[in-house]
Symmetry: C2
Subunit: 210 residues, 2 copies
């Protein structure tokens, strides 16, 4: 892993009621490559932020104080239901994330990106159980009902929860190489679904014919 070049800063956006695996699945995989990625948790304020599942993570910086990262990661979770109505938060996100080289979301995090206007004119996907409510967000988003993840220019959106890990490996492959992403998957003992069209959960939730 020589010649990694400058490290990219990945900033995950925490909020009350974020989904644990949406954040820590991707961060685990970026974190395997600690010579290439640095990881930051951003929250409403520096300090603990409670997840949808109960356990809390520690934001090291507030939204307002967060430097603009190379990669923005917005998770889903029950807390997104309030966020998509929070004009103050959405204004900050649009400004902070809008210039980032890569903007990514997991699960219903794409509803937040859409509400902030960050997916206007882009193809995107989301959690398959909550798809009907997600697709009401944003204007001019081309929602894709069957996809493990969707890459459209520098916007990356994944399906629900565990799908964020497959998307992250695809992003690592795009930034570096397929071989490096495969190595990361092997270290995490993760079976990587490499095909963005692999999505049995779309049919399971009635979004496409089985």
């Amino acid at each position: 892993m020589a010649d990694a070049g400058p490290r990219r800063d990945v900033a995950a956006v925490l909020f009350d009621g974020f989904e644990l695996l949406d954040v820590f699945g991707p961060l685990e995989l970026f974190g395997v490559l600690h010579d290439r990625f640095s990881l930051t948790l951003v929250g409403p304020a520096a300090g603990g932020v409670r997840s949808a599942q109960g356990p809390a993570a520690l934001a090291s910086t507030s939204y307002e104080g967060a430097p603009e990262p190379d990669i923005v990661l917005v998770p889903g979770g029950i807390g997104t239901r309030a966020l998509v109505e929070d004009r103050s938060f959405l204004g900050w996100l649009a400004s902070w994330a809008g210039q980032a080289p890569v903007v990514a979301s997991v699960c219903t995090g794409s509803a937040v990106l859409a509400s902030a206007g960050l997916l206007d004119g882009y193809r995107a996907t989301s959690n398959k159980r909550a798809f009907a409510s997600v697709r009401a967000q944003g204007q001019g988003v081309e929602w894709v009902p069957q996809a493990r993840w969707v890459e459209d220019r520098n916007r990356w959106t994944s399906s629900g929860v565990a799908a964020g890990m497959d998307m992250t490996l695809a992003l690592i492959a795009r930034l570096y190489s397929d071989a490096l992403a495969s190595e990361v998957a092997a270290r995490a003992e993760l079976e990587w679904h490499r095909d963005p069209n692999w999505d049995p959960f779309a049919a399971l939730n009635g979004l496409v014919d089985p």
Copy 2:
């Protein structure tokens, strides 16, 4: 999900240098069933505990102050290298976890359980890349080189990192039903490896013939 019965408390043991996904993969899945499981993060002291990947989680209680849970979860990570030599920690863990109805580990967390004497006379597995050093821990542990996870009475040990999620689903199936575990997997959009013998990473790391 009616008639869930009393909730089981799952306590994850955090330490400096714990592996993110080892903790938050299983907690995500237990957390889907919030009417059946409550989740607690236990640390050296109440407060932030830094992961191997950098981001910190917030322990709600110290080791010494932690009530005995129904399910103990010990993650792996680079921090286990110090823990397996830490007599004070191992003494606490043996006492606190020894009476728990279920004792589980992910990845090199099994080296910690073994060092605490909690796997003596049990079959167990661990991370496949670190297997040689792990199997030096404990006395009379029957280490299984090819297994996604091993269940031996009330001791559950998984292979590396992502394997903890497959083990957790199998544990939910054992405590409740296969149907409920399948429902949890579907909600997390996770492809569950149901076969404890599915382990391509054993051969990949030279532990068995390909």
